[in-house]
């Protein structure tokens, strides 16, 4: 396969990745958000696969396989299994900022990401010129999504999207050992286990996971 085609395929994955991030920001139903997360994981894996082929890197191939297993199979399965009621509900999550405003902010944030990544792209091979700005945009938009979501599970899904953004940039720059990639993928699974346990404890104890409404921890609220 010619290298220009591989670059084209990677750019396609990156464009779809960025679009999924925007769709995530606009989606208000938990089940839809989770399926966007799965799609994004697949795109991350696709980008890693293309680069593995282009660079003949076994590490990246391994990373692509681990990513599919962790992010498209294990994590969604665990979340759906342990938090089923939250995913069956078709209720729309409460957001602090309206969706159109958020999308405008996300566009501005993407431009910032490209500006930051620009000076780095020049001296580097072009997988980096594509993946770094898109990954950075994913990182910044996910942090924004996290800060405007007021319920526990959407916040956690934003955190998982943040992880995807980081690794989308990461696959292009990291030429590291498989130990580290395995640790990173396992880490996402462990994070999910712990957060799911905590989430259940909160809903059992308090009856709501609307963290925006949990306001026990204020200066005046101490007992």
């Amino acid at each position: 396969m010619p290298i220009s085609l591989l670059h084209g395929l990677n750019a396609l994955a990156a464009a779809l990745f960025l679009i999924t991030t925007f769709m995530f920001l606009a989606s208000r139903q938990t089940a839809a958000s989770l399926s966007l997360y799965v799609r994004q994981g697949l795109l991350l894996s696709a980008s890693a696969l293309v680069q593995a082929y282009a660079l003949h890197s076994l590490d990246l191939l391994l990373f692509a396989v681990i990513t599919v297993i962790a992010k498209a199979v294990v994590i969604p399965w665990m979340l759906r299994r342990s938090l089923a009621p939250s995913f069956q509900s078709r209720r729309e999550a409460e957001l602090a900022v309206s969706v159109p405003t958020s999308l405008l902010i996300a566009i501005a944030v993407s431009l910032v990401a490209y500006t930051i990544a620009q000076p780095l792209g020049g001296t580097m091979p072009s997988f980096i010129a594509v993946n770094l700005p898109v990954g950075l945009a994913g990182l910044l938009i996910s942090i924004y999504a996290l800060s405007v979501r007021r319920e526990a599970l959407p916040q956690f899904l934003s955190l998982l999207m943040l992880d995807n953004g980081v690794f989308f940039a990461g696959v292009a720059i990291a030429t590291t050992s498989p130990v580290w990639e395995l640790a990173a993928a396992l880490e996402a699974i462990i994070v999910t286990v712990i957060v799911a346990l905590l989430f259940r404890a909160i809903s059992e104890r308090i009856g709501t996971t609307h963290v925006g409404r949990l306001s026990g921890l204020r200066e005046e609220g101490s007992r």
């Binding site: 930051i116 990544a117 000076p119 780095l120 001296t123 990954g135 950075l136 990182l139 942090i143 996290l146 526990a152 916040q155 956690f156 955190l159 943040l162 992880d163 980081v166 940039a169 990461g170 720059i173 990291a174 030429t175 590291t176 050992s177 580290w180 640790a183 990173a184 880490e187 462990i190 994070v191 712990i194 957060v195 346990l197 905590l198 989430f199 404890a201 909160i202 104890r205 308090i206 963290v211 949990l214 026990g216 921890l217 200066e219 005046e220 101490s222 007992r223």
Partner: protein, 479 residues
């Protein structure tokens, strides 16, 4: 080989804690592992003082002076927090053996993850260890299972995992920079240091921002500190002591460890950024301290203040690095002591509200004395060790010619002094009805007494070993 024992001992103790017998086994195992880890940490420190660097597994596990200092602090706090837990958790979870055993197992795993951070020689693995410290302490923060405790645990988990995820991109960029210098270099701290001047400056700059913001969130730097007062006030007091006394410092260690790398960026004032972030945190925390109503939150804000002081000090340059590391050690000792004292008040009064605690000196003279002493210690009053370290921070600033920064820092420290001493003064001496004095558990009294000794001793005398290690460590975080 002795270094490997340090994190392995608490893992072993965690396994023993899970054996379904009476919790006395869990307690004994935890204490034994903490004491042995302390002995091992001191042995490592002595070895480092002689040879400068101890490597157990080349490229993987080892310790220099900076790591050894942190290990000793962690181990000291592990011992006192374990002792304190005997009485505290014994009373909080009396009659519930399973809950007590789970507590000790979790505590040991958390301590093991803390020990791992300074001894790993590869930044990527250190990052994994930092992430483990969060994951293994989430359920300790929410141990009380109250609505507030779980809410605090949630904020703690989400925000600090977010921070760590941002930081990981910084670490990946550093490894990329290393790779771009030469593909065959080992991915260790030492290789990063030596290759930094040849790395692309733009890569390093972006890495610096991501690392400072990412790990800064977990250190509790302003304006990313919002989770810290919640988590550090809602956790059981011995856990608070570890979180505030040593966990934030352990994460700060990673930022400090990377300073020589970022200083290599041509024309980039990395230290001035630390100075600015540090002063901002000290200032914000000082004013936030003036309005607290909950005495454990007060101590948490004081942690934000002290992290700011350390960062400011390192921003002052090489003399400041010595003072900043000294402050890291003394703050750990003082803050854990303060949380033990606050926990004792909580055991007696069953409230964290400052306004509801009055006349402590009549209710329990021992607790009152300890609370007052700990407040004086964290406020930086002689003869406690924090006074010496804060004094050397200010002096290093003057030597570095940053008079304005020293002036601001001094002002903020003075405001924080008022913010801590005024409420504590009222709690101890204020007029009010004394409560029915319940006796404090013996282990709580012992932990408090043991905590005050090093704080006083280091305030009067700096052992040559400590001075030597601090000097070695401060050169490790300066280019």
């Amino acid at each position: 080989m002795i270094i490997l024992l340090i994190p392995l001992l608490p893992v072993l103790a965690a396994l023993l804690s899970l054996i379904p017998v009476r919790p006395v086994l869990a307690r004994a195992a935890t204490l034994a592992s903490a004491v042995l880890a302390l002995i091992a940490a001191v042995a490592v420190a002595l070895q480092v003082a002689r040879s400068g660097m101890v490597t157990t597994v080349a490229g993987w596990v080892g310790s220099d002076a900076l790591s050894a200092l942190l290990l000793m602090l962690q181990a000291v706090l592990a011992v006192t927090a374990t002792l304190y837990s005997f009485g505290y958790i014994g009373r909080e979870a009396a009659e519930d053996d399973v809950r007590q055993r789970t507590y000790y197992a979790n505590l040991n795993l958390f301590i093991a993850s803390l020990f791992l951070v300074p001894i790993l020689l590869q930044p990527a693995l250190t990052w994994v260890a930092v992430e483990l410290t969060t994951l293994l302490s989430v359920f300790l923060v929410g141990f009380n299972r109250t609505a507030e405790g779980l809410e605090a645990a949630w904020k703690y988990a989400i925000l600090t995992i977010m921070g760590a995820t941002v930081a990981v991109l910084g670490i990946l960029l550093l490894l990329y920079g290393l790779h771009s210098v030469s593909a065959g270099l080992p991915q260790t701290w030492a290789a990063l240091d030596s290759a930094a001047p040849r790395m692309p400056p733009d890569v390093l700059k972006l890495a610096f921002i991501l690392v400072l913001v990412g790990f800064g969130t977990k250190v509790g730097l302003f304006p990313l500190h919002t989770w810290l007062p919640d988590a550090h006030s809602q956790a059981p007091s011995p856990v608070c002591a570890l979180l505030s006394g040593v966990e934030v410092g352990t994460v700060l260690y990673v930022i400090l460890r990377l300073m020589p790398v970022f200083e290599a960026i041509p024309g980039f004032p990395a230290r001035d950024w630390l100075l600015a972030f540090g002063l901002l945190s000290v200032g914000a925390a000082a004013f936030l301290l003036l309005q607290v109503k909950d005495f454990k939150r007060m101590l948490a804000y004081s942690t934000v203040e002290h992290m700011g002081i350390i960062l400011t000090a390192v921003g002052f340059g090489s003399a400041g690095s010595y003072a900043g590391l000294y402050q890291l050690m003394t703050h750990g000792l003082a803050k854990s002591f303060a949380f033990y004292a606050a926990g004792a008040v909580l055991l007696l009064y069953r409230t964290r509200n400052i306004a509801e605690v009055r006349g402590l000196i009549r209710t329990s003279p021992f607790t009152a004395t300890m609370l007052l002493a700990s407040a004086l210690a964290i406020a930086g009053v002689p003869p406690f060790a924090v006074f010496l370290s804060e004094f050397s921070v200010l002096r290093s600033g003057l030597l570095a010619g940053a008079g304005w920064a020293v002036g601001l820092l001094g002002l903020f420290i003075a405001i924080a002094f008022i913010g801590v001493m005024r409420p504590v003064g009222r709690m101890v001496f204020g007029d009010g009805t004394s409560v029915r004095a319940e006796r404090l558990p013996r282990s709580v009294i012992l932990a408090l007494t043991l905590s005050v000794i090093p704080l006083l001793a280091l305030g009067l005398y700096t052992p040559p070993l400590l001075h030597h290690l601090l000097a070695l460590a401060s050169s490790a975080i300066t280019r």
